[in-house]
Symmetry: C2
């Protein structure tokens, strides 16, 4: 029992890295067993077929993802009591975590499967859908707490704002990976943070009289 779990985990580890680099179609079972040091029969002892591997991979990935969000935002909740400041801190912590990833974010399995859709059965698509809905609920819950205290300065739908967090994360991952700029993802999360801040807090009067030199986006030609 113990040994089996360990081997299974090793297969999943190898598979996850491979799938995020090459997609499911691009990852062969034979390459997985070569790297894991197991035989083909051994592989099929643990997973009936590739579809079941995908399901296990996805479930594990989502679980881990949820755990990370839990940790970050509950930590932020412990540090500050105000729901808005806590959410803003959470986004900051998330951005720091993302920029600390040495080789950039490896990619999101949920998005990977979304772009592989038809090859998996309905069950996997449903797992994927529920993962995104869980994000909506998670961030929606936090935003509703804020809305109960702070007035929204622009009329926006809470669920759509919650989805914005997922959008920016998923989109930021695509940009970061494609540009090979690991930091882009973290920057995008901070942009989102700015948006949330502006939605709930009055904009501070600008201290300087001339056009602010601290602003990157001035009128310089480039």
């Amino acid at each position: 029992m113990r040994k089996g779990e360990e081997t299974r985990t090793r297969i999943l580890d190898v598979a996850e890295a491979a799938v995020l680099q090459k997609g499911f179609g691009g990852t062969s079972i034979e390459e997985l067993i070569a790297e894991t040091g197991i035989t083909k029969s051994g592989f099929f002892y643990h997973f009936r077929d590739k579809n079941e591997l995908a399901k296990a991979l996805l479930n594990r990935y989502i679980e881990n993802d949820e755990r990370i969000y839990d940790e970050i935002f509950s930590r932020a909740r412990d540090l500050v009591d105000d729901p808005l400041q806590s959410f803003l801190l959470g986004l900051k912590l998330l951005s720091e975590l993302l920029s600390d990833l040495p080789n950039g974010h490896p990619g999101c399995l949920v998005a990977g499967i979304c772009y592989y859709e038809r090859l998996f059965d309905r069950e996997i698509q449903e797992i994927n859908r529920n993962a995104v809905l869980a994000w909506r609920r998670r961030f929606g819950r936090m935003i509703r707490e804020i809305v109960a205290v702070y007035p929204l300065r622009e009329p926006v739908d809470v669920d759509q704002l919650a989805d914005m967090v997922s959008s920016v994360l998923e989109g930021g991952i695509v940009l970061s990976k494609t540009l090979k700029e690991p930091n882009t993802l973290a920057e995008q999360v901070l942009m989102l943070r700015t948006f949330v801040k502006m939605l709930f807090l009055p904009v501070a009067e600008m201290p300087r009289a001339s056009s602010g030199s601290a602003f990157h986006g001035g009128a310089e030609p480039h």
Copy 2:
């Protein structure tokens, strides 16, 4: 020449739809030739291998994408002169175009390839990277025009804000596809529009005294 082009285009049409549904790995050449009504030899007459098919597909997709953005934002530029109002209108038009897609956005090839990375050669990855950089330049150019006229109400980097457009689009596509909610993508674009508006325009004083009933995100439980 004429006939060859036509066949080539037909292959690309079939391939694009298939790839966006199943990814590159999930799309077999044999399925493509079956649907196109061509032989395998005929296919390899037009494309040396799957990699070259991917390259042609990607180039065509990016070209088309650029054309659509050109049309929308130059139309917006014709309708209003002010750079901010023109950009906001462009985002509105884009959102309308996206919500008019009958079955939702089919998916972005750039993102699809990003999640398939290692299976293609450096050239394709470079094409992909340049496409994202072109988006950054495009939106960056428009935002710089705005910054030259309107003060930024929060310190944000122009290129990062430009990337935000791409992020929200790519992320919105992933959400829309995964949730099977075609409208989510259009909504996300409108959320981004709200962000841009807030970044450059002073927030209007709220007309109502009590908590606004027009706001979706009130304190209602769910």
